[in-house]
């Protein structure tokens, strides 16, 4: 019997009311997919295609309007308690608490989960060290560079040892060199810990570099193209890249 997927969307839709009150708009349209344990799935799509809405549904931050979203076999929006420590999120901006030191920011999730303070301290320090931030434990976020701040947010997500990692364009605001280093570091950490990861991006290269599988979204969010990348030759990857570009170029205009 096949293992239960870690993330499963079954015809999930999400509709929002327009800010001006004139009707609704559909952000996610009958989206269905499954993600297995240990898989890294890159979700690719143009800005405003509903990637982040899908992300927020998986994270349990918003409720689907229709369909069923299951994460580790549970409803992420309604089963609030179950997901304590199960999901780690790295956002587009670092979202560090400015009043907390680097160490305290990494410790945040562990404190919320009521971890033993001594153990939380050790874990946070260990993750900071793994991400090359030893010596910056007592620095406040304003004193760190953009790349360092994003490293702290990665450490914060990993520190709670979550089952699933959700990343919403985490390196998009960084320069290419820093982003490349962090991408490599991120993939290494995910593989080492055998975590399931969903990585949202709007860059084809980044998606192909990170993902075992790439899902391309059209607007409103639904899968327009999907492919596996593991073990593909350079020629095959070039062909996939061209396919993705073709799919993105026939993007529908917004509803």
């Amino acid at each position: 019997m096949a293992a239960e997927p870690v993330i499963r969307f079954n015809e999930v839709s999400k509709t929002f009311q327009r800010p001006d009150g004139r009707g609704d708009f559909v952000a996610v349209d009958k989206l269905s997919f499954e993600i297995a344990k240990g898989e890294i799935v890159a979700v690719l799509g143009k800005t405003g295609c509903g990637k982040s809405t899908m992300f927020n549904i998986v994270a349990g931050l918003i409720e689907p309007s229709a369909g069923e979203a299951r994460v580790i076999g549970h409803d992420p929006f309604h089963e609030f308690e179950f997901f304590r420590g199960q999901i780690g999120i790295v956002f587009q901006n670092d979202r560090l608490m400015p009043w907390r030191s680097t160490l305290d920011n990494v410790r945040l999730g562990l404190q919320i989960l009521d971890s033993d303070p001594k153990q939380a301290d050790e874990t946070a320090r260990r993750w900071l060290a793994r991400l090359g931030l030893s010596g910056h434990e007592n620095d406040y976020p304003y004193a760190l560079s953009g790349g360092m701040r994003q490293r702290v947010s990665i450490a914060r997500a990993f520190a709670v040892d979550p089952e699933i990692l959700l990343c919403d364009e985490p390196f998009s605001s960084l320069d290419e060199m820093t982003a490349r280093d962090l991408r490599a570091e991120f993939v290494r950490l995910v593989r080492q810990s055998n975590k399931t990861a969903v990585f949202i991006t709007h860059q084809i290269n980044e998606a192909m570099e990170i993902g075992d599988r790439v899902m391309v979204f059209h607007r409103p969010a639904r899968i327009a193209y999907e492919t596996r990348l593991g073990g593909t030759t350079d020629a095959a990857r070039r062909a996939i890249r061209e396919d993705i570009m073709r799919v993105l170029s026939v993007e529908q205009s917004p509803a």
């Binding site: 927020n56 994270a59 349990g60 931050l61 609030f80 308690e81 997901f83 304590r84 420590g85 999901i87 780690g88 999120i89 956002f91 901006n93 979202r95 608490m97 400015p98 009043w99 907390r100 030191s101 945040l108 999730g109 404190q111 919320i112 989960l113 406040y140 976020p141 304003y142 004193a143 709670v160």
Partner: protein
Amino acid sequence: MTNTRTMRVLQAAAGMLVLAAGWQILSVVFPHYLFPPVPEIISRTIEILITGSLLTDVLLTAMRIFGGLLGAFILGGLLAMVIGQSKTAENFIAPILTFFQGIPALSWVVFAIIWFHGIEFRVLFIMVMTTLPAFTFQILDAFRSMSKDLFEMTMAFRPSRWTLFRFLIVPTIVPGILTAWKVNLGNAARVVVVAELVGATGGVGYQLLRQQQLFDMAGAMAWTLQLVLFVLIVQQTINAIENWALRYRAVSERAM
């Protein structure tokens, strides 16, 4: 940075010296019962500080200010939290607070004298009613300025309500609370004098009333200075707390 601070202190001191010099010139031109000389005012001010029975009046006023502000802060904080979580509560409570804001402090003094017997309760009531709207709206503003990004990030860890309050809401509203205390302190110092002037048998306001009856301008100035000194000391204490509590901010940001 130290040089800038020293320069700022020197400039402030120079301004006060000019004011004192101007007063001293007036004391030469006009009779002393209108403009008493600066040394006499200073001597009377010191006399109050070193005379136990007089200092008690200053401390009594200080306690009333703190009591009133603390009461308004607690009540205002609770109201702000209720309003912040319910649009219905806001629609119900906000107009009442706005209405209260329009009532002059002197009217609250009159109401308190008519409604209540105990002096201390009267003063507390006046202090709370005059500072409650400002505390509520300032804390509410601070609560509403909470970053949606940080809220989502924290919620992703699935905190309890208490944990969310402790780790996110409190640090978010601390700057607003400190500002509210600073703003309301000056307001409270003015209101307490009015309340004591009309309805108390002790405190700086009561002593000011006595100086007016005795036509003692030096005494009136000395008692006024007690209140000014008190406000300055508390303001500086709040500033020190603010510098400590907001030490995470970049130096350039804090200096703004």
